[in-house]
Symmetry: C2
Subunit: 263 residues, 2 copies
């Protein structure tokens, strides 16, 4: 673990008692001993030097010191300290393992929000499942995101949302920035990524967030691309082979992040 | 299956008898019946309309018609028909499943050659294994590449090579084009991807191939980055979080392909 996400109960106190799953993880999985150090990040994104002060039965106590300049001094965190675009990933539901892989990799790359979407050609129908099964699934994805943030040392506090219906994408997004959807058939008015990003930034500045919509294994239905276009989303042709859904998600996030950080 | 890779024995004859594993795959796995059609690609990259003419015990006969303009008329193949850069991926060995995932995804994206590399911080030591175990592993990766080309309809006939030692990268590559290695610590002389690609192309033209070196889970050792730099490879800082090896490979390929096809 590169980074321990401090619980919301942490407000800068010099000493923090940790219990339950977190304590088990620190003491049994990572096998940290008294006196060993790790890095923490609080809910506001600030970094902390943490030292294991005391280990008890299913609990431990951490000594916490602010660590403002740590990003420059430890190799446990990424060296790239420049700005990253705020990306919201609308990911159409795939089979369980594939969705988990996408969520994990999107978290590593630094999507700030991941919204699973029920679309027409999804092989799963999440809204046909029992409410508690859907909640279980969201909880599992949340746990996976937390682990991926900690393991990758991501500076972005990624959040995963409960699933929404495809038709709710426009109202969820509320036109807060540049909306892009990727698919692999040429449609009318399709744009190149670089120009689209550049044109949008000229109008709205460098800081505007980006929505990225990725279809399911079966692709987006024509009425779905129409709905997105009417809501102002831009169709982007990926200049590559046909990719499976889990490759397309990572590819599109990498392409958007590269164009936005290199430009 | 989007695409059946025609065997080397096919040289444009109107009728082709297929036996063994290929025949089993077509008739038992895909359950194609007499009269059903599929798309084929020959060893030179040309496309063919294939029709199942006859099905026998462990064999079948295909009727073959050239299909020059098919890319524009079928939705089974990618619509993007423009040039793709020739990318050679030098991938340091990861644990079995991770390496397989990388090889599959690199094939989908269209790397033309994938070379597994034994590096210092690899968790596996391929050269300590028995010769037949290494050959089995290469054969498994070759089968996986073939399946990925067929499933993704890739236009690039990806090849996977037997593993090489890290120190053999320079002689294998032989300075045939732009060499890049990605790592996540800032090193002296590190460059931005866009400028590096643009500068190289000004000098060597659009068609020069690109080598992409991706480290193992433990990263590249300092003597390995020195060896690459002395051989003319350029260090590139990915402007993102720290990524796990399997995410880094897809991210780097997507970044390189995007910069090269968008620029």
């Amino acid at each position: 673990m590169r980074l321990y996400l401090l619980p919301p109960s942490f407000h800068g106190q010099p000493s923090l008692a940790v219990s339950g799953k977190d304590a088990q993880y620190l003491t049994r999985v990572l096998r940290l001993k008294q006196g060993q150090r790790l890095t923490g990040r609080d809910a506001d994104g600030a970094l902390w030097h943490l030292t294991i002060q005391e280990i008890g039965r299913d609990r431990c106590v951490l000594h916490c010191e602010p660590a403002e300049h740590m990003e420059a001094t430890t190799d446990a965190l990424p060296d790239y300290g420049g700005p990253l675009p705020r990306i919201v990933l609308f990911q159409c539901l795939c089979k369980g393992k594939k969705l988990e892989q996408i969520v994990r990799q999107a978290t590593e790359i630094g999507a700030c929000r991941i919204v699973p979407v029920q679309s027409k050609h999804c092989v799963v129908d999440i809204f046909a499942k029992r409410k508690d099964a859907v909640e279980d699934r969201t909880a599992r994805l949340e746990a996976m995101v937390k682990e991926a943030v900690q393991q990758s040392g991501s500076r972005i506090p990624t959040k995963v949302e409960p699933p929404i219906a495809f038709s709710d994408i426009p109202s969820y997004w509320g036109n807060r920035g540049l909306g892009l959807f990727f698919h692999q058939s040429i449609v009318e008015g399709q744009l190149a990524l670089t120009e689209t990003v550049a044109a949008y930034r000229r109008e709205h500045g460098q800081e505007a967030p980006v929505a990225v919509v990725i279809g399911p294994e079966g692709g987006l239905a024509p009425e779905e691309t129409t709905l997105l276009e009417q809501a102002g989303f831009k169709p982007i042709l990926l200049k590559t082979n046909i990719l499976r859904a889990e490759t397309a998600a990572v590819y599109a996030l990498a392409a958007v992040q590269t164009i936005m950080t290199e430009a």
